[in-house]
Assembly symmetry: C3
Homo-oligomer: 339 residues x 3
C-alpha cells in the first residue's frame, strides 16, 4: 500500500495545506467511511452535513467551504478534479508485465513497439501494428491490419476485428467488440442478401470503451469515434455512426446506423437514437429517451412517461390510446361554448 504525507499530496495537486503536513495518508474514502489515514473530499455542498462527523485524516475542500471544516485540509479550487487525479496515485491495479507472454499467439508479421505487453492466450493477427507501451490483455483478439496507438490498453477478452484504427491512450474494457459487421442486408425474394461491410472503425485518442460494448464497422466509409469520447458498458454503436469529441454515452444506449452526434454531448443510459439523424453539440438526452428526429440546438431532451404504481399506470396507459380523441373532444367543447 502506498503512503504519502499531506505535504507530498499537496504538491501533487497544487493545494494549499492547512494542518499537519506530516500526517500520513494511504488511501481515499468517502466522508462517511474515511478513517484517520484516509483522505476524503467534498465536491457537493449537499454533503456539508458530514463535515462535523467525518473521521477522515484530511479533506480536499474548496476555498468557499474551507472555513466550515476544522481538521487537516487541502484547499483546491476544484476538489473533484483533485480527487480524480489522486485516484490514479492510489490505484491498486498492478501494471501488466512488459513483453510477449509465452502463451500468446503473435503473427510474425505484426509490428510491435517498445515496452509492449501481450498477455497469455492473446492472439495478434497479421500486419497488426502495436504502438509503444500498448497493453493487450489475456485472451484478446486483434485482427489483421489493425493498428493500435501508443499506451492504449485492452483489458482481457476484448475482440478487435481486422482493419481497425485505435488511437493513443485509450482504454477498452473486457468483452467489447470493435469492428463486427454493421447490420446491413438488402431485402430480396425469399430472404435477405448480406451487404458485406467494407468500411472500418476509426477511434481517436483518449477514448474509453466499456465492457461488452459493440462498435460496428462501416458499410463503405468508416464508423468514427473522435478523441476523448467516453462510452459505458453494453452500448451499441452501429455502422457509420460518428461521435464527436468528448461526448459521453452511458450504459445500454443504442445508436442506429449513420447517425452523427456532436461533441460534448452527454447521453444518459438506455437511450435509443434512430438512424440517419444529426445531433448538435452540447446536447443532453435523459435516460431511456427515444430520439427519433434530428436535434439542431443544444439543450436537454426527453421522452417517456413518469413512473407510478402499476394499478394507476394501467388506467393511464390505456387512456394514452385515446389521447388524440380526448384532444379533439376537448376542442369541440371549447368551440361549442363559444357559440
Amino acid at each position: 500500500m502506498r503512503s504519502f504525507t499531506l505535504r507530498e499530496i499537496a504538491r501533487l495537486i497544487n493545494a494549499e495545506l492547512h494542518g499537519d503536513e506530516h500526517h500520513q495518508i494511504d488511501g481515499l474514502a468517502s466522508l462517511q467511511s474515511a478513517a484517520n489515514r484516509q483522505l476524503s473530499f467534498i465536491a457537493n455542498p449537499v454533503y456539508k452535513k458530514y463535515l462535523s462527523s467525518t473521521s477522515a485524516g484530511a479533506l480536499l475542500i474548496a476555498p468557499s467551504l474551507a472555513s466550515e471544516f476544522s481538521g487537516n485540509k487541502l484547499i483546491v479550487s476544484k476538489p473533484y478534479e483533485a480527487y480524480a487525479i489522486l485516484t490514479e496515485v492510489f490505484s491498486n491495479r498492478v501494471p501488466a508485465p512488459t513483453g510477449i507472454h509465452a502463451d500468446a499467439t503473435l503473427s510474425e508479421t505484426a509490428v510491435v513497439g517498445a515496452n509492449v505487453s501481450v498477455g497469455p492466450r492473446a492472439v495478434i493477427g497479421e500486419h497488426v501494428i502495436l504502438g509503444d507501451g500498448v497493453v493487450i490483455g489475456a485472451g484478446c483478439y486483434v485482427g489483421a491490419d489493425t493498428e493500435i496507438g501508443a499506451d492504449t490498453e485492452l483489458m482481457p477478452n476484448v475482440t478487435v476485428y481486422h482493419g481497425i484504427k485505435i488511437g493513443k491512450h485509450c482504454l477498452l474494457h473486457s468483452g467489447c467488440v470493435i469492428g463486427a459487421d454493421g447490420f446491413g442486408f438488402a431485402p430480396k425474394a425469399g430472404g435477405w442478401l448480406k451487404i458485406h461491410q467494407l468500411g472500418g472503425v476509426i477511434i481517436g485518442d483518449k477514448v474509453e470503451i466499456g465492457a461488452n460494448t459493440c462498435i460496428d464497422r462501416g458499410a463503405l466509409d468508416d464508423t468514427v469515434i473522435e478523441d476523448g469520447v467516453i462510452v459505458d458498458n453494453l452500448v451499441q454503436i452501429a455502422h457509420n455512426v460518428k461521435i464527436g469529441r468528448n461526448t459521453a454515452i452511458a450504459a445500454h444506449t443504442a445508436i442506429a446506423g449513420s447517425t452523427v452526434i456532436g461533441s460534448q454531448c452527454t447521453i444518459a443510459g438506455a437511450v435509443g437514437i434512430v438512424g440517419h439523424l444529426n445531433i448538435a453539440d452540447n446536447v443532453h438526452i435523459t435516460g431511456m429517451s427515444m430520439v427519433s428526429s434530428s436535434i439542431t440546438e443544444a439543450g436537454s431532451y426527453s421522452s417517456g412517461t413518469a413512473m407510478s404504481n402499476t394499478q394507476d399506470w394501467r388506467k393511464n396507459a390505456a387512456r394514452f390510446r385515446q389521447l388524440d380523441q380526448i384532444a379533439k373532444r376537448l376542442l369541440k367543447l371549447e368551440r361549442d361554448k363559444k357559440l
Copy 2:
C-alpha cells in the same frame, strides 16, 4: 441417459405415488409433448385442459388437482418445486473434469482448493484463491487477488477483474464481466478526467449471473450483490450499486451508480433505474419501466405507454406533447361552467 422408476422418483421428492411404481422415467417434458417414458407436471390450473390428452408416463400434481388425472401421479404440495428439483436429476450436462488443463495458464502464486477444475485456455492471475470444487471454464480470465468460493462455476469465456470476491455455489454465465471500471469521470476543461475505480465487487453465495452481464467495480467502496440474487443476461449493474438478498433481475435491465435495491425484489426486463436511488424490499417493477425516483413501499411500479398500431400511436404520441395544455384547458372549461 439416466432412468428411474416412479418409486425412486417419489422418494427423491418425497411424493405420494399413485400408479405403477415400476414405471420407468428417463426424462422430463411438458404436458403437450411428453411421451410414455417422460414425467410431466401441472403447476398452473390453466393447463388442466391438457390433462385428458397428455401421453406423459406420470405427472407431478398438487393434491387439489389429483382427482382430475387418472394416470400415474406423484402427489406433492408444490409440483413446480418438485419439477425444479428433478431438472437437476435429469440434467444432461457433463460435469467438467477435475484438474488443471494442460492448456491453462495458472499463476504459481494462485491458491487452488481440492477438486478444482480449470479448463483449457483459462488464465488465472497472481494470488487468486479458488475454493474447493470451483470450476473455471475454458477461456476464462480471473484477475490478480480475486477470490472465488467453494463450488462456484464460471462457464467458458467469463472475465473477472482483479480484487473481486465471489461467494460459494455461484454460477456465472459466459461473457459476463465482473469488476470492469465504473463509469466515473470528472469534467475538466477540454475533456474528461478519469476517476480510477479503487473499489471492488463483492458477490454473495448462491448468486447466478447471466451471459454478457456487466457488474462494475466500485469507485471507493465496493459494488455489492447479496446472497441468492439471480441476474439474467445483458444486465448492467453500475459502480457501488447494492442488490439485496434474493432479488431477481431480468434481461437487459440497467441500474445506474450507487442505487441500493432491497431484498426479494423482482425487476422485469429492460427496466432502467437511475443512480443514487433507494428501492424498498419486495418491490416489483414491470418490463421497460423507467425508475427515476426512490421507492419506499413494497408494491408494483410501472411507466411507459400501451402499444397500438403505429398510425394511431403517432397521433397519440404527438398529443402527448400537448398534455399539460390539455389539462389546463380542461380545468378552464370546468371553472367557466361553475361561474
Copy 3:
C-alpha cells in the same frame, strides 16, 4: 486490391452496360465520396440530387432513373441488390486459413469435415461435429455434442454451449453466447430454486447473429431460430422463444421466454417483447416499443411517447399520471352539456 472492368462487373450482376466497358473499378463508394475508379449506386430517388456532381467511375442505376445520369452506368432492375452482391466481390476480408491451428484445443472425439479452419486458442469439446468448410475463430468455445453445419463461420471469441445445433452458411459475430441457461427459477421459502435448463438451441441455415447477442437454451424443449433470420448486436432471446423464417431483429431488443414470433417480421432496435406471446407473420415493431400482448395481424405497431425538450416533457410526463382522471372529467363535461 481487386480490380475489374465494367464489362466484367456487368456480367457478374447481369446488368445492361452503357459507357466505357474497359473502365477499371477497384472499389465501391457512396455517390458523394466515390472516385473515378469506384463504382456507386442509386437505390433511393432522394439521392438524385447527387447525380450531377458525383465523381464515381460508374453507377448501378434502375431503368427508371437511367436517363438522368450521363456517365458510365450499369442498368439493373434492383440496384441495391446488385450493390449487395458486389460488396462480397470487393470484400477485403482475408479468409481464415484451412486447418486446425497448433494453438487450438480440439477434443479427440470431435468430428471435423473437409476444409475446416479452427483458429488459435479455440476450444472444441467432445463429440462436436463441424461440417465441411466450417470456420471457428480464435478463442471460440464450442461445447460437447454441439453440431455446426457446413460453411458456417464463428468469428473470434464466440461461445456455444453443449448440445446446440447450428445450420449451414450461418455467421456468428464475436462475443455472442448461444445456449446459456434460460432464466428459470422456482420461488421457494428463503430464495430461488434453479430449474436446470434441459433443452437446447436449434438454429437454421443462413442465420446471422450479432456481436454480444445471447440466445438461451430451452427449459425442456428447444429455443428455435429458423432459416434466414438475421439478428443484430446485444439482442436477448430467452428460453423457448421461436423466431420464424427471415425475421430481422435490430440491436438491443429483448424477447422474453416462450414467445413465438412469425416469419418476415422486422423488429426495430431496443424493443421489448414480454413472454408467452404470439406475434403474427409480417409484423413490424418500431424502435423502443414495448409489446405486452399478442399481435394477430400483420402491420406496424408502436408504443412510447414523442421526444421534446426536457422542461416541457416534465410537465407532460407529470400530467400522464392524471390521464385517466382527465378522460373522466372530460366525459362529465360532455354529459353535463347535454342535460
